[in-house]
């Protein structure tokens, strides 16, 4: 199980078929939004686990804070007030990567292996292959990925900066810097989307998925979909999406995996 989560189902800009010798169990995480209280514990846990710290923002007149996803906020709770037939509902939704069965980001990505879908269903982002083009942003049907200001800055300067300022790919999957290139861009910061740390106060918030029908995604739907378990969003591909605490071991492997990788910009 430990290494199975690293088996790759498909990867961006890579027509070669992935090995199909092993077929590990898919995992899924489901959110029962009919009982989600919007406590933001998942949001905070995501930041803790992934060592993200968004800026202390401001209140812009809603409960949502940070007010949007960013390279430092991969999970953000959204609150919406809807009044229908005189009955008010406060719809609370967790925004973040849905780990789609057919990931739009992956399909749009021109850089080989920058976005991968693991066999267990997790869609992940390999920062060392990312070229900062932002195609994943347009490719995502849920408007989840964001380019970090640093990535934008780098992209801008590589185009318009003084002569010699450009970023090139090194042979060892690392960015190397040309003259005047930024010294300490940590490419982990470049794109925001992939959540790996579900955590919830409400017991019935994240619930195990029934069977192996879905990928490791998050599903959120209108609050009161009249049914309890099962009332999850169906993505374009028609598979059930949601979240389950069962992701924890896989998440840890991801962290190990990431630690084994070279650190960008560290030379």
């Amino acid at each position: 199980m430990t290494l199975q989560s690293l088996d790759i189902q498909r990867r961006s800009a890579s027509p070669t078929a992935a090995p199909a010798a092993r077929n590990p169990a898919e995992i899924a995480q489901l959110i029962d939004v009919s009982v989600c209280i919007g406590c933001k514990a998942c949001q905070v846990a995501c930041s803790e686990w992934n060592e993200l710290r968004a800026d202390v923002g401001t209140c812009v007149g809603v409960y949502d804070n940070p007010v949007d996803l960013s390279s430092q906020a991969w999970t953000v709770m959204r609150f919406a007030e809807v009044e229908e037939n005189g009955k008010l509902e406060w719809l609370i939704r967790k925004d973040g990567c849905m780990h789609c069965a057919e990931p739009g980001c992956l399909k749009a990505c021109p850089s080989p292996r920058a976005i991968v879908q693991h066999k267990n269903g997790i869609v992940d982002y390999n920062q060392e292959h990312c070229i900062g083009c932002g195609y994943c942003v347009s490719g995502c049907p849920f408007n989840v990925p964001r380019l970090s200001p640093k990535a934008l800055d780098v992209r801008e300067r590589s185009k318009t900066g003084p002569a010699g300022r450009r970023l090139v790919r090194g042979g060892s999957n690392r960015w190397t810097k040309g003259q005047g290139a930024p010294h300490s861009v940590h490419r982990d910061d470049w794109i925001a989307c992939f959540c790996r740390a579900p955590h919830c106060c409400s017991p019935a918030g994240p619930v195990p998925a029934a069977g192996n029908r879905g990928g490791a995604g998050y599903g959120c739907c209108r609050h009161r979909a009249d049914v309890l378990p099962g009332s999850f969003l169906r993505t374009r591909a028609g598979s059930v999406r949601g979240c389950t605490p069962g992701l924890a071991p896989a998440r840890r492997q991801h962290e190990d995996h990431r630690r084994d990788q070279p650190i960008a910009g560290a030379e």
């Binding site: 009919s34 009982v35 989600c36 209280i37 919007g38 406590c39 933001k40 514990a41 949001q43 905070v44 930041s47 803790e48 710290r53 968004a54 800026d55 202390v56 923002g57 401001t58 209140c59 812009v60 007149g61 809603v62 409960y63 804070n65 940070p66 906020a73 007030e81 009044e83 008010l88 509902e89 406060w90 609370i92 106060c201 409400s202 017991p203 019935a204 609050h223 309890l228």
Partner: protein, 840 residues
Amino acid sequence: MRSLGIVGTDAQARVCHGPTVSALASTFGRGAMTNTWVDIGNADFILIMGGNPAEAHPVGFKWAIEAKKKGARIVVVDPRFNRSAAVADEYVPIRAGSDIVFLGGAINWLIANDKIQWEYVKAFTNASYIVEEGFGFEDGLFSGFDPAKGQYDRKSWNYEFDEAGNARTDPTLQHPRCVWNLMKAHFARYTPDVVADLTGSPRDGFLTVCRHLGETSARDRVGTILYALGWTQHTVGAQNIRTMAMIQLLLGNIGMPGGGVNALRGHSNIQGLSDLGLLSTSLPGYLTLPNEKAHPTFSDYVARTTPKAQQPGQLNFWSNTPKLFVSLMKWFWGDAATKDNDWGYDWIPKWDKMYDVLQVMDLMHNGKVNGLIVQGFNPLTSFPDVRKTVASFSKLKYMVVIDPIATETASFWRNHGEINDVDPAGIKTEVFRLPSTCFAEEDGAIVNSARWLQWHSKGANPPGEARSVQEIVAELFLALRTLYRTEGGKAPEPILHLSWPYRKPNEPTPEELAKELNGRALADIPAPKDPTRFLARKGEQLPGFALLQDDGSTMSACWIFAGCGTQAGNQMARRDNSDSGLGNTPGWAWAWPANRRIIYNRASCDPSGKSWDPKRTLIAWNGERWAGADVPDFKIDAAPGSGMKPFIMNPEGVGRLFATDKLVDGPFPEHYEPMESPLGTNPLHPKVVTSPAVRIFAADKARLGTHDQFPYVGTTYRLTEHFQFWTKSVALNAIAQPEQFVEIGETLAVEKGIRTGDTVKVSSKRGFIKAKAVVTKRVKALTVNGKTIHQVGIPLHWGWETVARKDYLSNTLPPAVGDCNTQTPEYKAFLVNVEKIVGA
């Protein structure tokens, strides 16, 4: 502290659940949450009112969700559509400060529609008790009011007694002065129309709540109530809770699994704080600190605090007061407490008046307090009327702050522009800051809302110079004792005689203290029926409070905790979560009293000893004794026919619909407007608008506003993203909710030209704050007494010692006036104005 003769002391519980203790104790006998968090999952109906558990207790709230999944209905009644309402079946809005009208209306509806658990009411409440002839209620006043003193003479608020000292009863409920008929007449005024008119709640919503409540009068239907500070923080705080406690008695929901009145404690260990008697006039275990007039001698104290049974055959547990008190004295003074010196009674300080936080702040404001020791508390942020608090602190000579984090209290003298507009040069107060550990850096037990003492081990060593509070206090005490020994002083006996048996005197350990709280035998305790056998040998930890003696042969620092650390070891550290039935886990940690999880559980059975609802059998009479999934809250071998009633702490053995003289503002709850009323009148009795028994100091009275200047109802509350005033020092919480905001309904926003995200100024007579406006559909304008009432929601987590946005203290706004019985401040209903700040 008591050994130093200090009576001017108070605690966090004063500003939160004080009224819970007085309301529940005056009704059921004990002042704590009746059931457990887990047990909420057994309910058929959950009313959330005066609280917002999804927001304030997000983890415990899962048990409400468990109940919902099993089919329970959840209804939220609150001024705001809040996070709890977001997952509830129904939401009913209400005007802050009108809860007694709503609940009184429910009592009237239940009686009118005969939704009463009659067998329960007749057997287990004082409905049939006959009330003294002098008692009455007219034009908003109960009998015995003295307008000059602003207090009631409560003599007539009692039962009629026969020659033997037993209360007279009329089991047929025909007597015109029996509690049932008085109660029925009292609440007959609270018709559904009156409810809709005074609360602003829609009539339909009110009736829905009544119907749901009414359904639980059936033997096999149970409802519970979850409430917190939304009920306590009013001038009528205790009476809010009393009204609900009465409803639960009428429905037969007390003692039942899935029932009860669940006072949700918020501050970690605030229940333990109440249990250990840290409030001004308390001693550990809810014993009373002696009063200088009422209890000048030990025999006066014992005579006046030991009640006599008011019905034959009752357990009347408080008849054991002398055993509990003497064992406490033996803890205080050790060998120095002897029968000849009345167990050191004279060394205990006697109180002249209650030194609650409002009293102390007023004394300080009048220059009568020199020094203040603040431990684990941030009073500047927590007390009402911040400007007055700053002015009061400025008159101190010194202040000692013992805290793990930087607090606004310790830096009250620092200028922060408009936020804290003070002149540091003019403040002479010397502030000492002693860094202490936080809970994760020390071993010990935390008492949760459900009275469970859960032991934990420390997770990290304290940083820097931080030391545990025990160490800091021990060192202070030892230094003082040395001074008294070497230099002498006035009344040195209490300090010199205080028992201090710790292995390292300057570092009492949590284990040592826990063993003292439990208590031990100071001599062999022979079995009463067989003196050759011993219940405990000298030096042994006691198995429970039943062994406490009044002859000095036992000691216990907190009798209700007896059983938490026995010869068998630390019971609080137990972690067996096996379910003995209905979610009871008697092997997990330890609950006071005597590891009972649902108190008054004898009342879950009918008078013959059979469970009211076979699906919810918690305990039952097995022919010889009471037994079952929980520890019976009853005399274990008192047979159903013995006449003993389930409320063993009350001398009459029954739950009180009529509270007799136990509360200062009336034996029945009555609606009084908040001190700052948006109506300016009380349509029920226009001559008595606010509660007549309110204590308010002149300086605070002058700082009350009126509805013509401050037309909107302000109410303060907490958010899930933060914990009190701590987490603004934590980056992740600050990111999740960075800045002070206020919630304003759409209608008011349009009227005032405020758009969401605008900066607004919210002012009361006592000051102002500036905040971002959250314009929301979740706060609706209500029509009350023919008038449109807008409410403004004010969350309270920000300040200037922070990593979040530097902000105003929201407690600048509420008035310094408290609940009549406990002086818990009225944070939940006061008057404000709102203006848009142009150009901000």
